[in-house]
């Protein structure tokens, strides 16, 4: 692998993660749309609860792919976004609507409100992956030329390949989500929900498999060389691996071995992403190879180093989050568990915060007024910010504590 390709590899990792994790998130909403009646309410609540803690982190994968793309392959990014304006704009609107629905879901009280929020949520959750899928189909079928909006604004994404990949994206999400939710419900001891999602996962698995084969055929027939190469070595190996993983996943679901199913489904999705990348090689867009598209050396090095350093922080953090969620630590019944009482520490002598704060202000103010740049200015800025922080702590703590029943007015029932 060359330096030019390194960011691409990072993007593929991000794309696979988004397809699996973001896909599950979209798919959960798909099942909410399909759920009816009293049973439906339970399923819907379960889906919200299961996805609530993780959807934002899942979503950042998309942002990650975008920013690495525009840093490392700026011309490819600009070409894709300007030609595929319509589907990407639709995806953007869908993302706003979904996030809003997540934000307000917690406040819904009446059935009619819940229905309205659910409807917005589910529709946008289908629209968004579909739109993103059409964009992928457009790139894979060579319909995005290099340049500012040089491709056809409509047929670039309204064509057999795009539609096929769009539908596949929605179906995959639904499948991954059903498998995930079944596992989550089983862990939480919600047997009814687990059985319901298991049935859905089996059905969705069969349907998704069929859609995947159809999509492969459509892209192969419709696209240019990329489509054909999907059926040649080495992309074909990845496609077959995906099929095997998909079948294995179905079997795991059937046996209610949901954890294995989760990994199987992830592998199946990741293999498709890899297959696509292999079929595209060495071009990103028609006439634009990875090498030609790549930014200069210093940018690529900085990007790769930056991502590696970032990963050192983020990967363990993500692992903690997923462990907490998958072990059910955020389930309602886990509340108020048996936490060891924190040890009392003896209080160190009271820090004269207010005096420090005044000192910091006296140091920072003149420095900031005198210097325009350089280390003295930096000291001044830090001193002044320290003043705000220390003085806030000192004053706010005192002002909040004071006045239990003071002169400010009669104590009234709060609310």
């Amino acid at each position: 692998m060359t330096l030019d390709e390194a960011p691409l590899l990072l993007m593929l990792v991000g794309l696979a993660a988004y397809a699996v994790l973001g896909g599950a998130d979209f798919g959960a909403a798909f099942w909410q749309l399909a759920a009816h009646g009293e049973r439906g309410v339970a399923l819907r609540e379960h889906a919200y609860r299961a996805m609530g803690p993780v959807w934002e982190a899942n979503h950042v994968w998309l942002v990650f792919v975008l920013v690495v793309c525009w840093t490392a392959y700026p011309q490819a990014f600009a070409s894709i976004f300007s030609t595929l304006t319509i589907p990407l704009f639709v995806a953007a609107l869908g993302i706003i609507l979904r996030g809003t629905a997540y934000a307000v879901h917690a406040g819904t009280a009446r059935e009619i409100e819940r229905r309205a929020v659910d409807a917005v949520f589910s529709i946008s959750s289908i629209l968004t992956p579909f739109a993103l899928g059409t964009a992928v189909g457009a790139i894979a079928s060579g319909r995005v030329p290099v340049g500012n909006a040089r491709g056809d604004l409509v047929t670039s994404w309204l064509n057999p390949s795009s539609i096929a990949v769009g539908i596949l994206a929605v179906a995959t999400g639904a499948y991954v989500a059903a498998a995930y939710l079944a596992g989550d419900a089983a862990r939480a001891g919600l047997d009814d929900e687990a059985a319901a999602f298991r049935t859905r996962a089996l059905g969705a698995g069969v349907v998704t498999g069929a859609i995947a084969f159809t999509a492969l055929a459509v892209v192969a027939a419709d696209g240019d060389r990329v489509g054909e190469r999907l059926l040649e070595w080495p992309a074909l190996a990845a496609v077959m691996a995906s099929a095997v993983a998909g079948l294995a996943t179905l079997e795991f679901v059937r046996r209610s071995r949901f954890e294995a199913a989760r990994y199987g489904a992830s592998a199946a999705v990741a293999a498709v992403v890899i297959g696509w990348a292999l079929a595209q090689q060495p071009e990103l867009l028609p006439g634009l190879t990875v090498e030609q598209a790549a930014a200069g050396r210093s940018t690529l090095v900085a990007t790769v180093v930056g991502v590696v350093l970032g990963a050192v922080v983020v990967v363990p953090s993500l692992a903690v989050l997923f462990r907490l969620v998958l072990r059910g630590r955020f389930d309602p019944k886990a509340a108020a568990g048996e936490h060891p009482a924190p040890q009392r520490r003896s209080r160190r002598g009271r820090v004269p915060l207010a005096r420090f704060a005044a000192g910091a202000a006296a140091l920072g103010l003149p420095l900031m007024l005198i210097f325009d740049r350089g280390p003295f200015l930096a000291i001044g800025v830090l001193a002044l910010l320290t003043f705000v922080a220390l003085a806030s702590v000192a004053l706010a703590a005192a002002a909040a504590a004071n006045g239990r029943s003071d002169e400010d007015g009669p104590e009234s029932p709060s609310g």
């Binding site: 950042v60 700026p74 009482a341 209080r347």
Partner: protein
């Protein structure tokens, strides 16, 4: 200085776009929605952690109650911040492909690093908010710390991009292609970065502080003056009241940096046409192409403010060709609005701090609380005005001195349709945010002492100390 005229056949040559103005409006609208919301992503976690810290130290359950309720608000607003930010990322490609294609490799690193701040923030905000009652008190408190840190690093990295657009360096531009790119120097070796970050960071505390305080000041005026309201009023108000005067000093630093690196923007701030020594400031009035009319002149003030020297020479707008001047009245009006509000906020803060330091109580006048209610929305106006100053003052350049905005725009049609849909979706978003905040506020306040049987940190020590003070 303009980029060389490109061959028409070049893939990212300038295009004809009838709706450049609408594209700019779309970008501006999306920022104007994102920025006030992320102020809460930056400052609110600090408020909540502070309250939780007070609870751990004192054991008084009221602090925990406020912190827990606010953390729900924080999560809802974070979700909205996430989606509005995502739109911004999309829009950079959808609206300004030539800008991205040409300069993405110079500034993109800023956003790549920002993505990791987002990851961190999203992960730990979830752990924090869902972790109430499920993690040990100390682990819970600590899980909030990365959220606060990521709020700062996120602003730092994204603003490094904006600072670079205003004061670009770290690359060579030839024939529409960059070479010799030094991304770290471009983003972080830039003098412009530091005043922008600090000014914005302080602004976030002002906006989140006064807006939150405004809610409880309103309740105060309506006679709801319990412990809960008092704590919820006093904490954000104190922070904002301390930040507001400091913001004037930071703004002064910003103005000096602008004077040094973007003299044309500075001239636009005042509407100064001719280069002058000892240039004045005019309050109010109207710039009509060569001077400010009907304004109240304050002699030599501009020289004093911009260079800290009452007779310094200030470059006027006529130093650059007419088509390289920003729309002066917009910039000037926005700037004066920000500064005016800045002094107003500092005035309200002074009243609060004075009464507290002298009398150890809150102000009693109803006018003070009315002022705080007004300060909330006003601080948002100042925030947006500040950004309009920076961004419109940068016009006609998208990358100052290197690429003009009309060279950056997309060739795709249909911008007006996109604009209208975006406005509608944002209107729905705002309605939804208002609705959820009201819902969360209506939930009855239940003071609970926290996880069963847990003695908060230092509870005993704090009690002993309270006795000693008495």
């Amino acid at each position: 200085m303009m980029s060389l005229p490109l061959l028409a056949a070049a893939p990212f040559a300038p295009v004809d776009q009838d709706y450049l103005y609408e594209a700019r409006q779309m970008q501006a609208l999306s920022f104007a929605v994102h920025i006030p919301i992320v102020c809460f992503g930056i400052a609110f976690p600090a408020f909540v952690l502070f309250l939780e810290g007070l609870w751990l130290r004192s054991g008084d359950p009221i602090y925990r109650t406020v912190a827990k309720r606010w953390s729900k608000v924080m999560l809802a607003l974070f979700a909205v911040g996430v989606v509005t930010g995502t739109i911004l990322s999309f829009e950079l490609g959808l609206l300004w492909p030539n800008f991205m294609a040409t300069f993405g490799e110079v500034f993109g690193l800023g956003f790549t690093l920002e993505a990791f701040s987002f990851f961190t923030e999203a992960i730990f905000i979830a752990i924090y908010v869902y972790g109430w009652d499920r993690l040990s008190p100390r682990a819970h408190f600590l899980s909030g710390v990365p959220v606060v840190v990521a709020g700062f690093t996120g602003s730092l990295t994204v603003i490094s991009v904006n600072a670079w657009m205003n004061n670009p360096s770290g690359f060579t531009l030839e024939g529409g292609r960059v070479s010799d790119v030094r991304p770290l120097a471009a983003l972080f070796g830039n003098d412009f970065l530091w005043h922008e970050v600090i000014h914005m960071y302080v602004a976030a505390f002002i906006v989140a502080g006064f807006l939150t305080a405004a809610v409880y000041a309103f309740a105060w005026l309506r006679g709801r003056r319990g412990r809960y309201e008092r704590v919820a009023l006093v904490v954000p108000l104190t922070v904002a009241a301390l930040a507001a005067p400091v913001q004037i000093v930071v703004g002064d630093w910003a103005a000096r940096s602008v004077a040094r690196d973007q003299p044309t923007k500075l001239a636009a701030l005042e509407g100064l046409y001719e280069t002058e020594s000892g240039a004045p400031v005019h309050l109010g009035g109207w710039y009509d192409g060569d001077e400010v009319r009907y304004g109240l002149p304050l002699p030599r003030l501009l020289s004093l403010l911009a260079f800290h020297d009452p007779s310094a020479r200030v470059e006027g707008l006529h130093e650059v060709p007419a088509d390289e001047r920003p729309p002066v009245n917009v910039v000037r009006f926005a700037f004066q609005t920000m500064v005016g509000i800045g002094f107003l906020l500092a005035g309200i803060s002074a009243v609060y701090l004075f009464v507290w330091l002298r009398r150890r109580r809150l102000p009693r006048s109803r006018w003070f609380y009315r002022g705080v209610v007004a300060a909330g929305p006003l601080s948002v106006v100042a925030l947006i005005s500040g950004w309009v100053t920076t961004e419109v003052g940068r016009q006609p350049w998208v990358v100052h001195g290197q690429m003009r905005t009309e060279e950056a725009v997309t060739g795709a049609s249909g911008i007006p349709i996109g604009y209208v849909s975006l406005v509608l979706v944002y209107a729905g978003l705002l309605a939804a945010v208002v609705w959820i905040l009201r819902r969360l506020a209506q939930a009855p306040v239940e003071v609970e002492s926290g996880p069963r049987g847990v003695a908060p940190l230092l509870a005993g020590a704090a009690r002993r100390e309270g006795e000693a003070e008495r």
